[in-house]
Symmetry: D2
Subunit: 415 residues, 4 copies
Amino acid sequence: MPEVVFGVDQSKSMRDQDVPGHNRWHPDIPVVATVRPGDEFRLECRDWTDSQIGNNDSANDVRDVDLSVPHMLSGPIAVEGAEPGDLLIVDILDIGPIPQQSGPVSGQGWGYTGIFARANGGGFLTDYFPDAYKAVWDFHGIFATSRHLPGIRYTGITHPGLFGTAPSEEMLARWNRREQALIDTAPDRVPPLALPPLSDGALAGTATGELAARIVREGARTVPPRENGGNQDIKNLTRGARVFFPVYVEGAKLSGGDLHFSQGDGEITFCGAVEMGGFIDLHVDLIKGGMEKYGVTTNPVFMPGNVEPRYSEFLSFVGISVDHDRDVNHHLDATLAYRRACLNAIEYLKKWGYTGEQAYLLLGSAPVEGRISGIVDVPNACCTLYLPTEMFDFDIRPGGAGPAREDRGQCAVTS
Amino acid sequence: MPEVVFGVDQSKSMRDQDVPGHNRWHPDIPVVATVRPGDEFRLECRDWTDSQIGNNDSANDVRDVDLSVPHMLSGPIAVEGAEPGDLLIVDILDIGPIPQQSGPVSGQGWGYTGIFARANGGGFLTDYFPDAYKAVWDFHGIFATSRHLPGIRYTGITHPGLFGTAPSEEMLARWNRREQALIDTAPDRVPPLALPPLSDGALAGTATGELAARIVREGARTVPPRENGGNQDIKNLTRGARVFFPVYVEGAKLSGGDLHFSQGDGEITFCGAVEMGGFIDLHVDLIKGGMEKYGVTTNPVFMPGNVEPRYSEFLSFVGISVDHDRDVNHHLDATLAYRRACLNAIEYLKKWGYTGEQAYLLLGSAPVEGRISGIVDVPNACCTLYLPTEMFDFDIRPGGAGPAREDRGQCAVTS
Amino acid sequence: MPEVVFGVDQSKSMRDQDVPGHNRWHPDIPVVATVRPGDEFRLECRDWTDSQIGNNDSANDVRDVDLSVPHMLSGPIAVEGAEPGDLLIVDILDIGPIPQQSGPVSGQGWGYTGIFARANGGGFLTDYFPDAYKAVWDFHGIFATSRHLPGIRYTGITHPGLFGTAPSEEMLARWNRREQALIDTAPDRVPPLALPPLSDGALAGTATGELAARIVREGARTVPPRENGGNQDIKNLTRGARVFFPVYVEGAKLSGGDLHFSQGDGEITFCGAVEMGGFIDLHVDLIKGGMEKYGVTTNPVFMPGNVEPRYSEFLSFVGISVDHDRDVNHHLDATLAYRRACLNAIEYLKKWGYTGEQAYLLLGSAPVEGRISGIVDVPNACCTLYLPTEMFDFDIRPGGAGPAREDRGQCAVTS
Amino acid sequence: MPEVVFGVDQSKSMRDQDVPGHNRWHPDIPVVATVRPGDEFRLECRDWTDSQIGNNDSANDVRDVDLSVPHMLSGPIAVEGAEPGDLLIVDILDIGPIPQQSGPVSGQGWGYTGIFARANGGGFLTDYFPDAYKAVWDFHGIFATSRHLPGIRYTGITHPGLFGTAPSEEMLARWNRREQALIDTAPDRVPPLALPPLSDGALAGTATGELAARIVREGARTVPPRENGGNQDIKNLTRGARVFFPVYVEGAKLSGGDLHFSQGDGEITFCGAVEMGGFIDLHVDLIKGGMEKYGVTTNPVFMPGNVEPRYSEFLSFVGISVDHDRDVNHHLDATLAYRRACLNAIEYLKKWGYTGEQAYLLLGSAPVEGRISGIVDVPNACCTLYLPTEMFDFDIRPGGAGPAREDRGQCAVTS
């Protein structure tokens, strides 16, 4: 077991740890540990919400979640010798829930998936599912099942939703500027187009005083993926994956968290993954001057591992960039095309007795693949969603006597 | 070998065949053959352009291609007993280039990939590559190589770009209406937002006289995917795949073509696949009333086969929905995110000596995967492009002594 | 399509072709075509028995097959510059049944699997199945089904059972000597321990007169695999595979045939594969002095391709080196352990309504994997047989209401 | 984390645990815990030798290992309601090294592979490698590397080497009888053909007095696989696998251990796996009367999971049943054929600078596949060994400038 360079007591908030982490991006958040190229080490992580969500049958906690808190990150970890322009190699050696524990904190043998209410977060299908819902998943070694989604068992592709290097001061300013410009195009939209810096709920790591105040004031929110990686939510960054992060500041300042037991491509319910606290073991190395050398100047590059569970049979749904509700055509809009593929999958699953909410929760959390199939055939983009048939304990394929509609209960709802 | 129900003499245009096919969607195109549920049969297909492109080192033919002609389809094939509301099961038993022949027609041992000029078709990166380019691929059994892309060999995921059932009269009218509405938002755009019915170049199958005139006048262009399937360009519809098409007219009226020896997700150069004429062997069956029964009312559903070549190592590129050229943020725009992932991949490949055009041609035609990774993390969508490392005859991974930059020639250009 | 350097008229015996092949190994069989390193070319092949078996419902032809005839090989093909000590690289670019034909010859849309009678050939389980049986398989593109094995459909891993270079004179003498020594240990055994040279039925290619007589007299039988490759029956030598053959004579003299639409590991019924005539497209190259350089001095080395159909779910049977019929222990005998695994699988399949013969035919021909799992745990070797569950159209897994026993008919039997 | 029903203090011998396990098979070993069908639970396990081997650079401990001790098993666990004739379903939910610990006991961050001396255990190639050797492996999450095998890193297929139900009294007597009969055919052989009951070193669980004495006197050795499962060493019994064990006594009495971080098919060095202590999480269930119902009467049946690391490129070695050293032919001897495939692989690896011992250690421990390819082509069986090329940090394929021979050190040797 590698050395723990960032430890967490899961019975306490990230704010109350001996060495707290952070929930904003800023170049000046103080380093909490330093490692060298070639080192292997462990980070312990809190759940992204700092464990606001409980193992129960009510979605009230999802409805009322305080979104000024996420994502609670472990770090920053400095890498000796890292300089702007380098590529930081990060190998994911292992990752998992909170080891050797059962309990009330997500990651202690269980995790959850939430549909966020339109009024508090929203999600990919918030126009169709404006209320809050939740599913709790029990871990059985590599498998997950849910009392809220009977008939389903799958092997998670466990991964961190969020890892990144610190932005430079210049880059941070650029982020804030361009995101504010977007917000300004529709400042009253619900949910908002983007999230500006917010001092409420902010945690500046070990910074104090004026430094902490500045970090809180300027720090970028952790929600989107950006040039430093960040909340990429790429489900294939699992065990065995190697990521090459651009380095923008001295020491690289690597931070991460938001561990997922599983997630479908797109993480469509917003909190679509199976969320948990846990641990991640990393190995780091450097390619000096790698950004220019390899032309990796804008976003990370990665190599997925070869240990993902592989399925050989899928039921696949197609969507195109037509708003069928209003019969309106959009031009090569992959976002819409994927939304339609998701809606088509939900309609299908409803025929077997799942509620729409259950189906939506499933698509966000199970190891489904989302593909951009055609993106040039004007005017319609074509996206496809691949559902592994093996995760159902009944035969989900079309054919035979028609769908076996059963009462499959309901997920956790609000009261 | 199954019975050939639609034959093609590859030395002649589709217009001059004994039984010609068609290149517009219309419910009244006369049936050319009738099959029964349970039947297996073969269709022979012309290349999508009716073979306008040659096996040579000039991209002039791509630049000057007549886009009123595509896609030249084989069919319509009626299925006995098919009625609106049914699902038509289509199994792809086999598919390949023109069998047992070498020659000047694409599919006779070779195929091509084209970058279309902005002024005549365009493509996913037309703002970055406004001119016409071409790569010719030689087939070596399951492998493809190109004199225009040295150092690369891959196994194609051979598939038809386009298959579909006939639209009903009502559906056809709806298509034309909603696409014209889109065109009307920017009628002078180059390339156009969508393509309206066009009598130039139209081929109405075996229809003649007034019927042919009406088909030509009303018939929808074949470029986009729509509710009937159509030009979905899903590379995973390969051997062993099973598609469930909605049926909108009596007899279903299945047509198809646009065979691809290989294609990357998105088919980003517009003519991005390795295009060819060839054959396809199908098995059909019916699920009576299947659309309502399974909730498959808007688009086809499919199950990919288990014989795709599988790669275990990928180099993957990330893109987010930021226009980095102008530093402008867009809201959850997966199209832009995938475009950025493609551009990032191209920058990387250029470091190894490929020209941008070569890299672009490669991404369109090789078996690359395009994924929607994150679609809810406001404001940035995150898309990823997976490049199999094994198709290069050198080590394409980052690391070691830096990229092995070599003179890798150039693709076919215009004169 | 590559040049055909060895053509076959499938309506005629190999003996009556314009350029006949051969059915014995000998260094002096005249070369029929010469290729150069880097060349691609096609060989057409007869079925291994020269088409003695028919598409019918009687196993009499299997019972009475003339075993002096197999294997009818296409070749020898000389490779320019090949010298003893080189490694001959052979890439399998493509392979398939007889193209574009239907008819009475195996490979014309169909193939067969036979259980040979103990008195005429035998097989791996001949003590349990001493009589002749047959299953005829119909090809549906990549799939095979059989009227003699209802409920089953699989994707074949198509491959040549037999390919090899010519032995040197010295090597041929060694083969004949060591195999005769084995025969001499039990000269009257039925079936025999090995097969000595036999002039009956022999075909010496284009040789005539005294040369032909000598080849027939000395030529090694083609049944076993040997140092030159030969009848290795490795199902994974499919499309995309690369084989490195040792070269023992000038020009290498490559010959091959015995094409299989599919085969299970071990090819346990002797004629266990789905046998067919057809074609194979090859690319060849040389590694000069490669045998010594790489230490490949005794047998070929190969790299399987990445286009095998992959299954994700298997039902696996274990066998150990105990003769449970007689309760006798054998010492680390993998042959016995695999036999027991096969017998265990057959018992299982019988519970679902298949006859023992049907099950035996299935294990020989379907894409099952046979593994040596443990080979050191004295006294019991442990072998395992992996049956893909997806090839059954019912749920073959243990559990639930017990096996769904149905009348599944019978294979072809003798009269 | 599931309840630990069998715990181990890794600082103590199995003999000194509060509840000790056992190292012989006997129906009367007292049950240490009882579970119910549907339960999930954890077993903690000692290394198979009870941790006789150290993390050092000498093979003396392997040479001098006390082989009366293995395998130290955890159990027996009774399953409520299990009766003779049932099938016991065992799902492997998770498995791993000793969690959260580093230290001197194998499984605390490291494991080892040993070549046993001919005089003390032997192995598959003991005629070629009669002395003791060792490699120590370091665990890096899912990866293993060894200072004794530079240039290699692979993902282990972690699994238990040994699990089984208790034999009935009758079955135990049968084992002892038939194995003694084998021993009697060559009573002085070194290594012995089989291992009879042995009181030295025996541990009878919690039994005491006369019961313990009888168990020690009659108990079958744990080395071979038998009808109850036992030391099957099937590397594919990894996470996600489901095993169906025959039940021979009331309560089934499940025991297991001998955890392997990784192993090659055959486990050819005898102690060929990467051996370790650790934990395993199981789920159990029952199929009442399942043995007769499914015809599973002789050996377990299993379904491997879908989370094995998958490799897409292999270098494969062929072996046939010829003793090339003496030029003697054996009849369809798969054991010999696999031995020759192993020897061929070793010769190949030596050309790259590995010693024969290093290569032998690698083949035993890395995720190589061993296949029975042809088993009917008289007189030669054909076996194949598949080596994943991706585990080498250099290009191991033939071709180019010849093998890159380097000084690759040596494994641990005896002094």
